[in-house]
């Protein structure tokens, strides 16, 4: 399959990428290409030009600064999964990165491209919503930071506008006593998430003192699950309590569920609580 013709520009700095975006209306940024190249080959998009940011070293790497982590937009899934800092301070994100696609996909795909593409079947957005991440964006009007709850706006729609470039993802480091987990029902062929659940539970003396839970894959935009979180807060982390809390997810899913030939919306709705329970059990275990 051949993509439609497009022009090619390689940016040598974030500033130059911004200038190229402004001087080439309709152009698309190219990071790892593992969502964009398939889209171009299927001719679902025909941008006049690509602006390759794949070599910008300033957008790469993981930095720990006190209580927060800063992940450069070009950090690959393989780098996230293998990072000892991430395994320690945001284990759910490292786990999610380690089950994306396959090793070759993880070598090329980047966190910035993953969240900018905002495919509902992606893994990282669900974790970033649960952990309360924020997104640093460089645009024509300067730099701004957008919280996850506002960044993901719809199926493949984000707060990124024309001329915007995502530079980094920032998230809080795991507080003491918090266990995190990401579990996923992977599509057997593509490995994308049919359902993905991220959970972060803070446990003290056998009781849950704080809970953050997000579900993705079955909804257009990853959602927090306030009913599940409310049922957990202050209660024990025993198996029956976690299962009862997981069952509450039905109230958080809303009416707009995704279904396809592999898994209907009804099926996903029916099994959602099972995957939430597994995530809660794994997070409680890790606490």
């Amino acid at each position: 399959m051949f993509a439609p013709q497009f022009g090619y520009h390689r940016a040598s700095s974030v500033a130059e990428a911004g200038e190229l975006l402004r001087s080439n209306p309709g152009a698309k940024l190219l990071a790892g290409g593992h969502s964009l190249i398939p889209v171009l080959k299927l001719r679902l998009a025909a941008p006049p030009a690509l602006i390759d940011i794949g070599r910008l070293a300033e957008l790469r790497g993981i930095a720990v600064d006190g209580g927060s982590l800063r992940l450069g937009a070009l950090t690959t899934h393989a780098e996230l999964a293998a990072s000892p800092e991430l395994q320690r301070h945001a284990p759910a994100l490292a786990q999610a990165a380690s089950v994306i696609g396959d090793p070759a996909v993880r070598n090329r795909g980047t966190i910035g491209g993953n969240v900018a593409h905002a495919d509902p079947a992606s893994d990282l957005p669900t974790v970033l919503v649960a952990l309360g991440a924020a997104f640093e964006i460089a645009g024509a009007g300067g730099e701004r930071t957008v919280p996850a709850a506002e960044f993901f706006q719809g199926m493949m729609a984000t707060a990124l506008g024309d001329g915007d470039l995502l530079t980094a993802v920032v998230l809080p480091a795991r507080p003491p006593g918090q266990g995190q987990a990401y579990v996923k029902f992977a599509h057997p062929a593509s490995r994308y998430a049919v359902i993905g659940v991220a959970a972060a539970l803070t446990v003290s003396d056998g009781a849950c003192t704080a809970a953050a839970v997000a579900v993705g894959g079955l909804v257009p935009v990853p959602l927090r699950a306030p009913s599940v979180e409310g049922a957990l807060a202050g209660g024990p982390v025993a198996a029956d309590a976690l299962a009862a809390a997981a069952d509450r997810v039905a109230a958080d899913l809303g009416d707009d569920l995704i279904g396809d030939v592999f898994a209907s919306a009804e099926y996903r709705r029916a099994v959602a609580a099972v995957w939430v329970r597994r995530a809660l059990e794994a997070a409680a275990q890790a606490a």
Binding site: Q5, D52, D102, P103, A104
Partner: protein, 161 residues
């Protein structure tokens, strides 16, 4: 469309070409110099038969533009054996353990296996299976492929020890 110059080292030899920006790395490689060992299976990044090494790490070359490989070193299956023709331990192992039947998936499988051993020199069977998730084989049923990777890991560790 304006062509773009690229310089790519393939199996140790430097090739300089002018390419259309949309040219996929897999077609660049296959049309370069008779290097047709790299296969196009699905053409949708699922099957792994187009897998090659880019600066030592696997990439599915149907999902990479030739312009993205500018300045990089690529290894295709033709470049894996030693210069004197001695097979790489992975090639030996796939041969000895019957890790192939028709052979279509084999170049990609061997590089997927190469990536497993690069990141985990003594992998468990579970790690091997997780590492092969991006590669499909229509013939072998995978058992002998897992066995081949295991055998290559043993041979390579012995080689070092």
């Amino acid at each position: 469309m304006v062509k773009v110059p690229v310089a790519v080292r393939v199996n140790g030899r430097l090739y300089e070409r002018e390419v259309e920006p949309r040219l996929l790395l897999v077609h660049f490689l296959r049309d370069l110099d008779g290097l047709t060992g790299t296969k196009v299976g699905c053409d949708t990044s699922q099957c792994g038969s187009c897998t090659v090494l880019l600066d030592g790490m696997t990439v599915k070359s149907c999902t990479c533009l030739a312009v993205q490989a500018d300045g990089a070193a690529i290894t295709t299956i033709e470049g894996l054996a030693a210069e004197n023709g001695a097979l790489h331990p992975l090639q030996e192992a796939f041969w000895n353990q019957h890790g192939l039947q028709c052979g279509f998936c084999t170049p990609g499988m061997i590089f997927a296996a190469h990536e497993i051993l690069r990141t985990s020199p003594d992998p468990s069977d579970e790690e091997i299976r997780h590492g092969l998730e991006g590669n499909l084989c229509r013939c072998t049923g995978y058992q002998n492929i897992v066995r081949s990777v295991r055998a290559a890991a043993d041979a390579m560790q012995e080689g070092e020890g």
